[in-house]
């Protein structure tokens, strides 16, 4: 049985399952396929061992569809786990589009992580874009349609830039293998840019905050796991140790914390927070040492879980109240206490409290940065850690479940949502308490002890005193209140500024064109009518010049010509 399973690339398992789901009637059978596929895929990857297993020829290239090594394996495993938890959370969904796209999306992301060459990577790269946009459109509102369009344009653009880079790379090196590259040529810069778009680098980031809150409740949980972490994997594979990533990652870790602090839509707060977490991972890739890459991989693993947990808890609240806006929520712990507790576990994990998953993973990256003596980067990342506590650790649970009472008394989340959240929360704590479980599947051997007195005391001081600062600021009424508003980000450039410039330019061009057209038409008509006036049939010239005059003048001309020829 296992031998048979080993014959199929993991991504194809998901694609086959997507077809099966389309055929099966709605109900338990369909849900079992949705939950079973990631489990089977994880078993396949776990039992397959390391190596390259599946090559197909395409136009003279050999596409490597199954490259399993210690780096790709951890990403594939967490993708499977995320697909399982996301589908469990979405058990109530009776929407074929969402079910099929969830499977196709997970399959594409897993396929991309297993690609041994850049062409296969490109196919799967675009696959994630196309499959995932349906999770946004499935909301079926005009706003989500436009948001999905913006998302799709940017994601597809990333793929187009990737294939341009890959073609140039092949032209330069004669190879399509997806290995470590050096920045320097146009080809590698293009590939880097393509990864950067999907990884939400600063200034390229806004598709993330724009689109994730626009997806369906369950769609956002699934979206949060794959695209950006796939980009982190691609950077770790292709550009480990590229110094510029350290600075990019630091900016990424820092700037979203300010935006998250004042954002009202809690799912957008989480999207900013996701961006900030990616910053830590990108710094790890930039450092590129074994410790740092272990930090990146483990952080991605833990992050997918706690981020999904936070999206699930806010999603469950949205499922019961219809809103995820902080200004409309508050006091929900009273009737949704389990969801509140799961949310707090997610908040503690992302804030990296000892005994939670964030603590044992983020400290790897921070230690790697310190080990390489980047003091300012390290200080900035510690600042960013306090920022994480602020928006994800405090803001999300506090303004949803506590703070002022919104008067809403919704019923507790449905059982399958509680199960999904409970399982994810358990994993967050399990990883935090038993770090060796996660450390054992990291790309490199781990020689690191997170639970030393020094680490614990330092982290507790940082978090507790930041909490104290919050308490003082909040009690004094200085904390920015939750108000209904939108905050501008770089997307204002392409959503408002560029369209209005375009409208303005097109207005000027069309106006000047029509004026020139009118003017020239007028001049032409004027010219013809004047010509008609002087030379037309009724003109004075026509009257004084009889038709015979032409015949006479031609005869005279011919006579002249004859005369010249005769004497020359």
């Amino acid at each position: 049985m296992l031998d048979l399973l080993h014959q199929i690339p993991t991504a194809f398992l998901f694609f086959c399952a997507a077809f099966v789901v389309m055929v099966l009637p709605q109900g338990n059978a369909r849900n079992i396929v949705l939950l079973g596929t990631p489990i089977i895929a994880a078993i396949q990857v776990w039992t397959l061992g390391m190596g390259e297993f599946y090559t197909i020829p395409l136009f003279g290239f050999n596409l490597e569809l199954m490259r399993l090594d210690s780096l790709s394996r951890i990403f594939v495993l967490i993708f499977c786990l995320a697909a399982f938890l996301g589908n469990l959370f979405a058990w109530h969904i009776k929407d074929t589009i969402q079910q099929v796209s969830a499977l196709a999306y997970a399959g594409s992301a897993i396929g991309a992580a297993l690609s041994g060459d850049l062409i296969a990577l490109f196919f799967y790269w675009e696959g994630t874009a196309i499959a995932s946009v349906f999770l946004i459109w499935a909301r079926r509102t005009e706003g989500s349609y436009w948001t999905g369009m913006r998302y799709l344009v940017i994601q597809i653009a990333s793929g187009v830039i990737l294939i341009a880079g890959v073609s140039l790379y092949y032209y330069d090196t004669g190879s399509i293998a997806f290995e470590r590259m050096e920045l320097g040529s146009v080809a590698t810069w293009l590939i880097f840019l393509s990864f950067g778009i999907k990884c939400a680098f600063p200034l390229l980031h806004n598709w993330l905050q724009d689109s994730y809150p626009a997806a369906t409740i369950t769609g956002t949980v699934i979206l949060s796991a794959f695209t950006t972490k796939l980009a982190v994997y691609a950077l770790a594979r292709g550009f480990a140790g590229t110094e510029i990533l350290i600075y990019i990652g630091t900016i990424m870790a820092l700037f979203p914390i300010f935006f998250a602090e004042i954002e009202n839509d809690l799912r957008r707060v989480l999207a900013y927070s996701l961006n900030n977490q990616l910053g830590f991972m990108v710094v790890g890739v930039g450092i590129g040492t074994e410790l740092a890459l272990n930090g990146t991989a483990s952080h991605a693993f833990a992050h997918i879980l706690y981020k999904a947990l936070l999206f699930m808890s806010v999603g469950a609240v949205m499922y019961r109240t219809g809103t995820s806006k902080a200004s409309e929520l508050g006091g929900l712990y009273k009737t949704m206490p389990k969801t509140a507790i799961f949310c707090l576990v997610g908040a503690a994990s992302i804030s990296a409290f000892p005994l939670f998953s964030g603590f044992i993973t983020k400290s790897l990256t921070l230690s790697a940065v310190a080990h390489e003596h980047y003091m300012y980067i390290w200080l900035a990342l510690v600042f960013a850690s306090a920022g994480v506590l602020s928006h994800s650790g405090i803001k999300i649970p506090f303004f949803t479940f506590f703070a002022h009472d919104s008067g809403k008394r919704p019923k507790e989340a449905p059982l399958h949502m509680l199960l999904a959240m409970g399982l994810t929360a358990f994993l967050c704590i399990f990883i935090g308490v038993f770090p060796n479980f996660l450390y054992s599947i990291l790309p490199y051997d781990v020689n690191y002890e997170p639970y030393t007195m020094e680490h614990i005391a330092g982290q507790l001081q940082l978090l507790l005193f930041a909490l104290l600062a919050f308490a003082i600021i909040y009690r004094r009424g200085l904390h920015p209140p939750e108000i209904r508003a939108v905050n501008l980000d770089t997307d204002v450039i392409y959503r408002k500024f560029m369209p209005s410039v375009f409208m303005y330019v097109s207005f000027i061009v069309s106006r000047s064109f029509s004026s020139i057209h009118k003017l020239s038409k007028l001049m032409f008509i004027n010219f013809i009518s004047r010509l008609n006036h002087t030379h037309g049939p009724d003109s004075s010239r026509a009257a004084s010049w009889p038709a015979g005059a032409m015949v006479i003048s031609i005869a005279a001309l011919l006579g002249l010509a004859l005369f010249v020829i005769f004497f020359s």
Binding site: G143, T321, V382, G458, K496
Partner: protein
């Protein structure tokens, strides 16, 4: 006291336990507990030997002071930032989800008493 009990008695049992945080005075108690925890974590400084990467880490209570200061700076900058970038919720009009309501057919509003 009785009034609080009466209004909370139909909450789920976990909800009733947690509702301690809303009782009069709890707010103050939580604040004092936090201060005690802060002092305790500060006190831990004297229980171990530091193997710092940077000189700055060797100062007693570096993380505590840094955490407190950067958090305050963060809130301060964010408040300023809001003044610059805040616009009305319908700024992007029909091309965003901000001014829409979430489709009712995709959610299940149930009151906890129902």
């Amino acid at each position: 006291m009785k009034k609080v009990k009466k209004s909370t008695q139909d909450y789920p049992i976990l909800g009733r336990w947690i509702s301690w945080v809303d009782k009069p005075g709890s707010n103050q108690k939580i604040f004092y507990i936090l201060i005690i925890l802060c002092i305790a974590s500060f006190g831990l400084e004297w229980t171990y030997e530091k193997h710092a990467y940077f000189e700055i880490e060797n100062y007693k209570g570096f993380y505590a002071i840094y955490g407190f200061i950067v958090f305050s700076i963060l809130i301060f900058i964010a408040t300023l930032l809001r003044k610059i970038i805040k616009v009305r919720e319908d700024f992007y009009l029909e091309k965003s989800i901000e001014s829409e309501v979430y489709p009712e057919d995709q959610i299940q509003r149930i009151d906890h008493n129902a």
